[in-house]
Amino acid sequence: MTQQTFKSAKRRYHRMFWPLMAIYSVIVLAGSYGLNQLDPQPTWLQATLAVACAVPVIATLLVMMRYAHETDEYTRMIQLQGLAWGGIITTSVLFIVGFLQLFHVIQHFEVFWFGPFFFVAYGVSTLILSGGKHC
């Protein structure tokens, strides 16, 4: 077995995670500020900015999967179960909100919020699965 498997995987994870979060923050803040300066706002620019904001988040998801692949077996189990529970909880809420909209109980809900909701559900699930210890 490779020595320092867990530590090197954790290092690689942090080396990618924090820069990606910084890039995400810069794109969202600078992008929305820049867009607000324009009147009218060109659709192509709005679309480009929307995709650009999502790219660091998608990259973060891939980094999370790489961490799950490279880390030790117990942490991998906790991470993958956390991701699974995050997905199950988010999809369940997505269906409930979707049907509430179809049956005209609620009028409008921003789809965007399911993204952050997934990360919260994943984080809480991982914390519960690991018995409150950070993995």
Binding site: M1, T2, Q3, Q4, T5, F6, K7, T71, D72, E73, Y74, T75, M77, S130, G131, K133, H134, C135
Partner: protein
């Protein structure tokens, strides 16, 4: 699965963190294995056995699994 890792570790004066470093796993992994919350894979069980200079059977107690298999 019950095991005597905690006893072997404390006998040698090792912390969970130092054992985790030796095995290349997290301290949480060592804790989960020691408390029986997680059963290690065969390669990790061999690594643990090698580190303590014992056989897998000497460290891990498969009494529960053996009784289930016998039924």
């Amino acid at each position: 699965m019950k095991n005597i890792i905690r006893a072997l570790r404390t006998e040698r004066g090792w912390s969970q963190a130092s054992l985790a470093d030796e095995l290349g796993v997290s301290r949480q992994s060592v804790n989960a294995i020691e408390t029986g919350k997680y059963d290690p894979s065969l390669p990790l069980a061999f690594a643990i056995a090698r580190l303590f200079g014992k056989s897998i059977e000497e460290i891990f107690d498969d009494a529960t699994e053996a009784s289930i298999a016998a039924e």
